[in-house]
Subunit: 217 residues, 2 copies
Amino acid sequence: MSEPFDLRMPLEEAMETQRAIRRLKSDPVDDGLVLRLLELALKAPTGSNAQNWEFVVVRDPAVKARLARRNRQAWGVYGGIGRRLARGDAKMLRLLDAVQWQADHFEQIPVLVVACLRGLRAPFPPLFATSYYGSIYPSVQNLLLAARAAGLGAALITLPLWSTISVRRILGLPWNVTPCAVVPLGWPIGRYGPTTRKPVGDVVSLDRYGHRPFRRR
Amino acid sequence: MSEPFDLRMPLEEAMETQRAIRRLKSDPVDDGLVLRLLELALKAPTGSNAQNWEFVVVRDPAVKARLARRNRQAWGVYGGIGRRLARGDAKMLRLLDAVQWQADHFEQIPVLVVACLRGLRAPFPPLFATSYYGSIYPSVQNLLLAARAAGLGAALITLPLWSTISVRRILGLPWNVTPCAVVPLGWPIGRYGPTTRKPVGDVVSLDRYGHRPFRRR
């Protein structure tokens, strides 16, 4: 099944240069490559070794079109708010432009991967909720990193899933399979490259929240 | 800040050999290494580029002891159920043994990283919940993969967090900072190595849930 794709990029380099790539070419992406990326996604931790993840690979234009519509509906609301909040913030406006591009070209994205979980999603207590999502997002991050190593553009989005009922209908998901995240995959128009982040010392506390001995002076 | 630790392991190898390492030596782990791993954790995606993560690095024995107690309380309930369900399942019983070992030796773990999120945790609608946890678990997975590349044992656990109120008090977290996951770090007693997973074709559908053309016959 797994053809030899080159995914030997050093871990550090893959992480340092991973970023959301939203502008994607419509050129085809090989099934074997997508499966190899998903194979690596499955190596991520899974709570109680349940492996209760399900991945729907969407290539059918009709299914894509229906998800594109859901995405545009959510983006119509969220994007408008975002633009108002981002006024004057050039970096955030660039991000919003990229999300707009993605919404406008959603049907042309070669592959959408919808990551789902089987089993009850208990929103309460917090322990159940965090354990639940902790069984899908590590695999999604493996998928994103592996895509980066393969040179394939990818991003983590959730807007197309605003109506779980509708997405269940579109993908034929049973009631006990919940869509959690969407990863659009395609060869990048943009480039991978370093992201800008706060210094690590600003978000790390020692022993007690707010005690920040690692903060650069 | 970041000393040169060797984290150049090929991405594919790191993913293929990442597994929960629960039996850890009490030998010290360098602060610089922990910070470098967290620096890579921050390269993960973050919703709307909010970077609203907070990491509490716990080394203080008194704080560890309080988290150890919370962990044992949850494990007392969950572990008992687990053993009854796992009867006859040798693999699951080995996993439970490792979790038991971890609970028994929790105070001797050199470093606990508590991954938290700032901001409101809305349990409903599902879109908010999944977007929320989608902003912390990718960074946790980066931390786990980077630990693996460094040869440092790590695992993803949530049991010590069963009482959010108590953990907020132990770590001095403000009301709007929610603990999501704990990663115990230490030099491994056990070894990293391949995990066993279902074949990828068994958890991947094409276009519609249950349509499994990639399943091996």
